[in-house]
Amino acid sequence: MNTQTTEASAQSFSQPMAGTKPLVVMEGVTKRYRQGDVMVEALRGVNLTLAEGEFSALVGPSGSGKTTLLNMIGALDKPTSGRVSLNGTDLTQLSGAKLSAFRLHQVGFVFQAYNLVPVLTALENVAFVMVLQGRPPKEIEQRAMHYLERVELADLAHRRPKAMSGGQQQRVAVARALAAEPRLVLADEPTANLDTHTAFDLLDLMHELNREEKMTFLFSTHDQRVLERASRVISLHDGKIEEG
């Protein structure tokens, strides 16, 4: 098992901390794909366990396989070999439609950019996944407003994304991810397009929500400045989780 520690965690594991229930388990995961004439091996036998309630950072240089790994965990992509399970469900055994359903209920996403549906207001964006989940309208409205308040954007509820800053848009995306009550929130370089101050604010917010809502977070970054916010850091190089 490959691990790396931070000062915050003072430990270096590809295993979760002892005593916690595993939420994500990756076993011998490889991912190969063709890029032009070249066969790229994005992941090379990754073994990783994430526990419920973790606030983990996935670090590594560009091209190290961070996004590919997140896609595997988020049921957006399937491994070439190996097994990925989330909350006890083997994702490699699910078809396209079941994967969609699984994503809808189990995973929340915060992407690097283009996170929001441009024609929907902040409130409608937060409500969107809950609408897909088929929740009652009243509950959707209450939860959407609640999470907008949690990210301190209630006063911008009726603004569309283009009328909001990048940081505000990312906070709306976080609110959307949390409002749908997923087991896991995956954030692919959520701070990449933000200035340092805004990036720290967003990470603080995510960490706060992680503590208060007991939500599991895994976010990728190659920005060393934000690592100190993470309770666990998983380092990826050339498709492999490095030994600590």
Binding site: G74, L76, N115, V119
Partner: protein, 425 residues
């Protein structure tokens, strides 16, 4: 079209699709303008085309033998003078009692040879009730010399202007009419010209000679008919509502008419006019195909651009859990809104054009001063736009159908968007 939970987020789809349509306003406005103007022009052309056709048909029906005609079987193919209806009065009464909303006109149609000292030509002698027959309305206004016929005039005829020229006759001139009889002999009667008419229709002006029923009946009596039975060769039925023709044709057929009689509608009586309208409609439909093809490509372009520009957004929607079919529906909905908006604008513009030309008409007298004669009828020089409910439905359905079809390919492209590929773009 469902979410993975089996619920379709219709409200969200409606909201996103409608708003997405206005994301690139300029492109949408340009597309809407193209579709709306194309549609408005289509409404205008179809309205004028239908108005012209209906005008020709009405004129043909009024100058011809009505919406429905009752005559002897085989008379249409071989109009022999001996194929008359012996009990004309009885048939007329039977039809009047049937409660037909319109008019019933007994007529005698005969093939004769008209001779004067100047010439001899074949003519179609038509015996009518001069005061009441609908044909009177059309022909009397075309009188260029003399006067119209009176009931019971035993010798009077009015003739077409070209016929008058050929026979070298004028008002008051005498003409000898000769008709072949069933036995091979001939029957002759002397008539006198009371007036000359001009319709602008070659077939009428050259060959038609109008007389009273009494005058024409003399030939049928020669063929053995009993004058007491008021023999005729046909009875024409003019309906107040032409759309009821099919209904009344069926009803008249159901009557216990004398044996050997058939009920024909104007389309069976004037197949050449039916062919002309059909041929003219083909021209209109070809124009429609051009306009609708442009419309289809306009929509395809707008929606396709919208889809290609939003590949990443569609990937986001799929990543968040939206099903491929919901995405497909979303794009089809955008097409639907686009076509519905274009239809609304198109109907306002096209409906306005139609209303104007239905009221004031399109004056084509510069091109056709006396109207345009064709296929045995005439189209007035002022054409009034006409659109039936069926036409409105057809045009609306066509544009909706075409636009929705145009949106299917972009929707299919959206359907195939995978979240992973889209998010990597």
């Amino acid at each position: 079209m469902n979410t993975p939970d089996g619920k379709t987020p219709w409200k969200s789809l409606v909201r996103i699709s409608w708003r997405s349509l206005w994301r690139n306003r300029r492109r949408t406005y340009i597309t809407l303008s193209g579709i709306s103007l194309g549609f408005a022009l289509t409404v205008f052309f179809i309205g004028i085309g239908d108005g012209g056709h209906n005008n020709m048909i009405r004129n043909a029906v009024n100058m011809g033998d009505g919406h429905l005609t009752i005559q002897r079987e085989g008379y249409l193919d071989a109009p022999m003078n001996h194929l008359f209806i012996a009990q004309g009065k009885q048939l007329e009464q039977q039809l009047l009692q049937a409660g037909i909303p319109g008019r019933v006109a007994p007529r005698i149609q005969l093939q004769v040879l008209a001779s004067t000292s100047g010439n001899s030509i074949g003519a179609a002698l038509t015996g009518i009730q001069p005061e009441t027959d609908p044909k009177t309305n059309q022909l009397k206004k075309g009188l260029v010399t003399g006067e119209w016929l009176t009931t019971g005039d035993p010798q009077g005829v009015v003739v077409g202007a070209r016929m008058a020229e050929k026979l070298k006759v004028k008002t008051g001139s005498k003409i000898v009419l000769m008709a072949g009889s069933e036995g091979g002999g001939t029957n002759t009667h002397l008539v006198r010209v009371r007036g000359v008419f001009r319709t602008g229709i070659e077939e009428y002006d050259s060959f038609v000679m109008i007389s009273s029923l009494d005058m024409a009946q003399a030939f049928l009596v020669d063929e053995g008919a009993n004058p007491a039975g008021r023999p005729v060769t046909r009875v024409a039925v003019f309906l107040d509502d032409e759309s009821a023709m099919g209904l009344w044709k069926a009803r008249l057929k159901a009557l216990s008419l004398p044996a050997g009689l058939v009920v024909l509608d104007w389309q069976e009586m004037m197949p050449q006019l039916v062919s002309f309208v059909a041929f003219d409609n083909i021209g209109n439909y070809i124009s429609l195909v051009f306009i609708f093809t442009m419309v289809a490509f306009g929509i395809l372009n707008t929606i396709m651009m919208g889809v290609l520009e939003r590949t990443r957004e569609f990937g986001l929607l799929r990543a968040l859990g939206m099903s491929p079919w919901a995405l497909f529906t979303l794009v089809v909905m955008e097409t639907f809104w686009l076509s519905l908006t274009a239809l609304a604008i198109g109907w306002v513009l096209g409906g306005g054009l139609h209303a104007y030309f239905a009221l004031w008409g399109l004056d084509m007298s510069a091109m056709y001063p006396g109207g345009m004669a064709t296929s045995g009828t005439v189209m007035d020089s002022v054409i009034y736009s006409e659109l039936s409910g069926a036409r409105v439905g057809m045009l609306t359905g066509l544009i909706l159908g075409i636009t929705l079809l145009s949106g299917l390919y972009p929707a299919y492209r959206a359907l195939r968007v995978t979240p992973l590929q889209a998010l990597q773009t």
